[in-house]
């Protein structure tokens, strides 16, 4: 895939291969034979799972080669120059004025001891700095002088991302590179940030490359899409075409694994009238005064699957923690199906009550003891035999070879499956799932959700699944609850909530999700 370089192009990759330093030539490269062209004012989205090489590619466009990697062959031309061989002085002239990159981890991308204004002073000088900065901030939606003298820790996640955008754009670069612009933000805030980016791109006309794991994100702000898998661009084309008729297998999997509001991956199962959880007027206070959950009523029946939607700070994780006993209840009542009072401290609960409620956590890297094999982790507290463990692993789609593996030898999806198997071994009546797929790639996420659907049907256990993704929840559960600032703002069957939401917040989430799914 050799491309010829033309004058009108702003970014060009020709046959670029990047490898890990000192690694054998027959090993799989990080980037393999990448060919790309981007003209002035064009927009390109790059989508791929973790380890696909998409971030390496984006950084390479800015002339940064991640330490430990080498450019094996090919050439990268950014605004007519090979930035990889540029001197530091040449680079600092180009960055910000011609090319700008906004890196992924927005929490740490601003210097903690400098105010917003000081950040601008690095690169903006001369007269009327303040006016220029104010104008630039207003453009990204941060009006008012109050932001000038704030420190990063005094800004919210969305505000930080906007400040970074303003910093990148203040000197009107011709090429803007974005790495996962919304992955650390709540859905609604991320959507607003994307709208801002789109508006700025249209009005200013800079070229844009945006990298994300989320097909919905890149399709919203780019006319063309490149799909990456294992270091290769497997598909490249107009956004609408790639989405409508994907040609490569990976792209097909990617498109089909996006949760859709109107597509179910699990059919409702038989529910008995037996209840597994009853809570009335539940109140949870965390810290000194913060009400994580305020007067919540909730009832869950045997075999029922309930989804809870909420953003960070909505109290959804506090609720799960309280149900399983990790956080104490401050008001109201919380009982299990047999009437046992679940506001009892964890240590005081009898063993049957403990095992009847199990939880799977968000971060797969954290959920298994790094020093133990899967078999050891799964048997230590459940006292399960090896054959029981094997069958539990089989239920979640893991073969016998995983018995002796340690967490560092497993992928995120595999670790999460093992964590689910461990929860199952306790034979729970209620399984709590806290954002269990949010750390996984979309295709893996779909597979794990399918596994969960299968085992729910087989074992008929009640589940509460918490997520920020309304489409994911809607495709899986029987009933949806929407939490906001510790309050229940919406509750009902999937159809009711999705088709006719009563709360404007829910409506907003559905709109965002629909816009993404409608691609």
């Amino acid at each position: 895939m050799i491309t010829t370089l033309t004058q009108s192009q702003i970014l060009g990759f020709s046959n670029v291969t990047v490898r890990i330093k000192n690694e054998a030539r027959d090993s799989r490269p990080i980037l393999e034979a990448i060919g790309l062209q981007l003209g002035h004012g064009e927009t390109l989205g790059i989508v791929g799972g973790s380890g696909s090489g998409k971030s390496t590619l984006l950084r390479l466009a800015a002339g940064v080669l991640t330490p430990g990697l080498v450019l094996d062959q090919g050439e990268v031309t950014t605004v007519g120059k090979n930035l990889l061989v540029a001197t530091p002085a040449e680079r600092s002239n180009i960055y910000g004025s011609v090319v700008a990159l906004v890196a992924q981890s927005i929490g740490e991308s601003l210097t903690p001891h400098l105010t917003v204004l000081s950040h601008f002073r690095d690169t903006v000088s001369g007269e009327a700095v303040d006016e220029r900065v104010l104008e630039s901030l207003a453009e990204v939606g941060l009006g008012g002088e109050k932001y000038l003298h704030r420190y990063p820790h005094q800004l919210s996640g969305g505000e930080r991302q906007r400040v970074l955008l303003a910093l990148a754009l203040v000197r009107s670069p011709q090429l803007l590179l974005l790495d996962e612009p919304t992955s650390a933000l709540d859905v609604s805030i991320g959507s607003e940030v994307l709208t801002t980016i789109d508006r700025l791109q249209r009005s200013r006309g800079f070229a844009l490359v945006c990298v994300s794991h989320d097909l919905g994100v890149v399709s919203q702000i780019s006319k063309r899409i490149a799909v990456m898998n294992q270091g290769r661009i497997v598909e490249l084309g107009q956004t609408s075409q790639v989405l409508r008729s994907p040609s490569h297998e990976y792209t097909k999997a990617l498109v089909s694994s996006i949760p859709k509001l109107d597509q179910r991956i699990r059919e409702s199962s038989s529910q008995s009238n037996e209840r597994v959880l009853v809570c009335r007027g539940l109140q949870i206070v965390r810290g000194q005064t913060t009400r994580a959950i305020d007067s919540l009523d909730l009832e869950i029946k045997q075999g029922e699957v309930v989804g809870i939607i909420g953003e960070s700070g909505s109290g959804k994780s506090s609720l799960l923690s309280a149900i399983c006993g990790l956080v104490s209840v401050t008001g109201g009542s919380l009982h299990d199906g047999d009437g046992y009072d679940l506001s009892t401290a964890l240590q005081m609960r009898p063993r049957e009550v403990l095992s009847s409620i199990q939880m799977v956590f968000q971060n797969p890297d954290d959920s298994l003891n790094p020093m133990r094999t899967v078999a050891q982790s799964l048997s230590r507290y459940t006292h399960a035999t090896n054959s029981e463990i094997s069958s539990a692993l089989l239920t979640v789609g893991l073969g016998e070879q995983f018995l002796t593996r340690r967490p560092r030898e497993m992928s995120g999806g595999e670790k999460q499956r093992a964590a689910i198997a461990r929860a199952l071994l306790a034979e729970p009546r209620l399984l709590l799932l806290d954002e269990v797929t949010s750390a996984l790639d979309v295709t893996v996420q779909a597979a794990v959700m399918k596994t969960l659907a299968d085992l729910q049907r087989k074992l008929n256990i009640a589940m509460i699944i918490v997520s920020h993704d309304i489409a994911l929840v809607a495709s899986f559960v029987d009933r949806i609850l929407v939490l906001r600032n510790g309050q229940l703002v919406e509750q009902g069957s999937v159809d009711d909530v999705i088709k006719s939401p009563r709360d404007s917040y829910t409506q907003n989430l559905i709109n965002i999700s629909a816009r993404r799914a409608a691609i």
Binding site: Q347, Q358, M359, N369
Partner: protein, 265 residues
């Protein structure tokens, strides 16, 4: 000089392990090697240079330097091992317990740790050694107690980080008792983090005891001990520099090898 600069002796595994092996060999086997006596004084041969009889010469009392050198690491090593064991045991138990218990117990134990950290270590050791005699047992216990507080502090924060991790939460949800979580999940992981800290601690204790000996309050004469040997021979440095250079090389190679091993991990 250039090749010397390029040779990174602190990163050479073979070198590190052969130095450590040499020291282990010497410290364990010195009494069983057919060496000259460390104490017999030869008044006819004071402050001599190297010879066939005395490979590294003799000191101001006519004692064989080579033999004293090979024996000279044993007192500090024994005390360092004993004191490190004591400080680890106390430090890790107290630190993890404080983090695991939380609440007022944590608060109280943390105050005790801070309090211990503020104590002037060396002057206390000097006092203890001066007033209670230079008894290796007392010194090991004193060193172990004093050096327990930094271990406890690191163990406490390591445990706290661990307790926030999901696999500990799961263990609690599945009915693991505090004790079984402490020994099954916390301590093995804490120990892994603590290894570096403990190895450094060992070096500090070794050097603290050597320094005490140098001040005349650690090993008591005529015990051969490197710090003491350096102190005793400093006045004769002009006559026979080997008297101080040899024990310095021994001590330096030992602590540097341990340090290099720690950095390597």
């Amino acid at each position: 000089m250039k090749t010397l600069l390029r040779f990174n002796f602190l990163k050479n595994r073979v070198l590190i392990f052969s130095v450590l092996g040499f020291h282990a060999f010497v410290a364990l086997l010195a009494p069983y090697l057919r060496l000259l006596s460390t104490d017999s004084q030869d008044s006819a041969a004071l402050l001599q240079g190297p010879s066939l009889n005395h490979w590294l010469g003799t000191d101001s009392l006519g004692r064989d330097v080579f033999s004293r050198l090979l024996h000279g690491g044993r007192p500090s090593l024994v005390i360092a091992f004993a004191a490190t064991a004591i400080s680890c045991l106390i430090g890790i138990v107290i630190g993890s317990l404080a983090a695991l218990a939380g609440g007022w117990i944590d608060e109280a134990l943390s105050r005790v740790i801070d309090f211990m950290l503020a104590l002037p270590t060396l002057i206390l050791l000097l006092l203890i050694s001066s007033f209670f005699g230079q008894d290796p047992l007392i010194l090991s216990v004193a060193l172990g107690l004093m050096y327990a507080s930094p271990i406890a502090r690191v163990a406490r924060s390591a445990t706290q980080t661990l307790l926030a991790r999901d696999f500990i939460r799961v263990a609690r949800l599945q009915g693991g008792s505090r004790i079984s979580i402490l020994f099954g999940e916390v301590l093995p992981n804490v120990w892994r983090v603590m290894f570096t800290e403990v190895a450094m601690q060992f070096t500090w204790i070794l050097l603290a005891f050597s320094s005490l000996s140098f001040l005349g309050l650690g090993a008591s004469p005529p015990t051969p001990e490197w710090g003491l040997m350096i102190a005793e021979s400093r006045s004769y440095m002009t006559l026979n520099p080997l008297l101080v250079i040899a024990p310095i090389m021994m001590l330096a190679s030992l602590v540097l090898a341990i340090q290099a091993l720690v950095d390597h991990e």
